[in-house]
């Protein structure tokens, strides 16, 4: 799967979606759409959130699944929350 770039490789500014297209009828929509916050996170952080949802938000289950300790998983979640808050502001 191709990695979605979220920052400009030239100036590091956040990228926006300027064109969307329908793969069925080839309709193309142009504009300037900001990427959702979750998409602006790294692949690793997105995978973590995905796992978090799959384990019904249980950090203990996640820790067991990831073979990490509970505080390590909790710290990771807190770091992601901090990143999300920074992206929101």
């Amino acid at each position: 799967m191709k990695k979605l770039p979220v920052n400009c490789p030239s100036c590091e500014s956040p990228l926006v979606a300027s064109q969307l297209s329908c793969s069925e009828c080839e309709t193309v929509i142009s504009g300037s759409y900001s990427l959702p916050i979750l998409l602006q996170l790294s692949k690793e952080d997105q995978d973590f959130i995905f796992e978090f949802i799959l384990t019904s938000g249980s950090l203990k289950k996640m820790a067991a699944k990831m073979e990490k300790s509970y505080p390590t998983v909790r710290n990771k979640l807190d770091d992601i929350l901090e990143k999300i808050n920074n992206l929101k502001n």
């Binding site: 820790a63 067991a64 073979e67 990490k68 300790s69 509970y70 505080p71 390590t72 909790r74 710290n75 807190d78 770091d79």
Partner: protein, 193 residues
Amino acid sequence: MKTLLFKPFEKYSEQKLLITGIIATLIGALVCNALNCRFIGFLKMTFIDEAFIGKSILDNIIIVSCLTFFLFLAGKYIYKKTRLIDIIVTAIIAPIPLYLLPIFNINNTIKTTTENILQYSSTELAHQIPTENIIPLVLFGLFSLLILIWCIALLYNGFKTASNTKGTKAIVIFGIALVLADIASRYVIFHLN
């Protein structure tokens, strides 16, 4: 291996670490007792004429309790979600390398060597200290330094994991907590044990 030796807190559950720590602490007390050593503070070991198992265990309990108390206060100050169990496992696992130090005192080697050297304590006699007395002490000193670095690295990594610490401020608070825990453990052991 690096994780096991320096960052076990990132990988292993608190139950596993707690059980390992309790077993190691008891073994440490037995080793101290067998080789006539006492930890009279978190970072202070002394060689004695005759050790008692009860005192050795109590020494270790006092040290772990002092470390837990001050690191937990520091952890809560830095990060509200710090759990007591994570600090307890840090305090009980981190001193494990220190229990290797008494091995140098097999047959009272270090104690005897130290006493021999003390006979040459005056300035005029200092150059007469026999080499066979200096070598074991130098080796013991170097080994102690490595063990100390390992122990503090474990303590910091455990504290970092437990309290999600980042930045210089957290390191300073950790350092203060460590010094206070050492002073408190020396004071309590001196007065109670």
